[in-house]
Amino acid sequence: MHILSTIIEAFPYILQGTLVTVVLVAGALTLGFCLGVPMAVTQVYAPRPFAMLLSFYVWFFRGVPVLLLLFLFYYGLFGLMGLEVGTIGASCIVLGMTSAAYQSQIFRGSIQSLPAGQFKAGRALGMTDLQTIRNVILPQALRLSIPGWSNEYSILLKDSAMCFALGTPEIMARTHFVASRTYEHLPLYITAGLIYFAITMAGVTLLRRLERKARIPGYSNSGM
């Protein structure tokens, strides 16, 4: 059948895009994590001016569409700064910075949900604030953040489809390319959709497993 042969023919090409998508999402999540954790800590513990500065960052990246950010940085700011990062690099950085804004708020919520006594106990033993944050606060806050983080993962994965607008050769861009030449829009976009669905499920399942593994013995997570 003609449709089937189109899909089979296009599949390796789209699958290569899947690799690009996975790299984009992994890179962006990592960047977002590395920026998001210190941002959350700063927002909770640092003096007001620093916290305000970060509030502005969060407000900006959450207040503007990802597509606009991609154009703004790729065609605008990166050029001004003389940065040659390519489409994949640019997509990764912009998605990462956006994700940092969201992730910082996930971590901030978790940190603030811990009882104040945890911090006091660390201090009372002679640990510095930084030692207390690293050894007492973050190990607990990050555990609490896994469900929210899993959300961020699945949203970011689908936001990555937006990078097609820069010509980043990811799933969406490649599917669109094939579809516009073969006119087999329906089967091709369904295929792409199924790929997105599979990656989402795989990641969410993995994080769910991590959540179970990281659970502190003796605590119930049944909510009752």
Partner: protein, 264 residues
Amino acid sequence: MNAHQNDTPILRAEHFIKYLTGRKILDDCSISMRPGDVKVLIGPSGAGKSTFLQCINCLLEPDQGEIWLGDHRVDVKNTKELCDLRQRVGMIFQEFNLFDHLTAENNVALALRKVRGMSRADALERAHAELARVGLGDKAKLYPAQLSGGQKQRVAIARALAMDPTILLLDEPTSALDPELVGEVLTVIRDLAAHGMPMIMVTHQMEFARAVATEILFMEAGKVIEQGSPEELLAPGAQTRTQNFCTRLHDLCGESVPEEQERN
């Protein structure tokens, strides 16, 4: 230890004044500790007892006042001196505040590793010794959520003792416990007192205070208004605020007070 350790106080907190949300919580409170001193802070709720205690190791920074360790005035603005002070002044909280993500042994070992720079193995060895001292040698691998309240508080005591504090602050250590678990914690504290560990303790366990305290400080509205040995303040017919308060405490909660107290 210096030669004149018996006449130099090991710790002095002098003229503490503390405001919280615009209210004066501490109004010129002082306390001085010599080796072997066990001082009990009592008084009505809101008197400033916990605030006073938390100012001594600077968990709350006093707005005015001085902290002296021996003959050295602690500069609390200096991070190193502040951490040093807290290391030497152990603290036990009403709500235990164990690190929930760590086993009992790692609760005790964490600060040994991070503050003292001990190796993991050495820290765990010391942790096991401290846990055994409070009778929890067999609970080392359990997490806080798997322990009873009394066991949690004993882990907290082991955690504080592991830092070799020169003095211990106890903020209502038995108030969050079920009545049948109070005894095991008091036994540990009594044992520490018997071994000469200097302690400042906020408590409503009057019988216990009478038995172990070398001095009772009665606080009200941010001031220490009475101060003296249990014998003086709680003597039959002493007519002190302390005794009056204890009698009321007894009437309200039926805490056992010897007969002569009841007639007062």
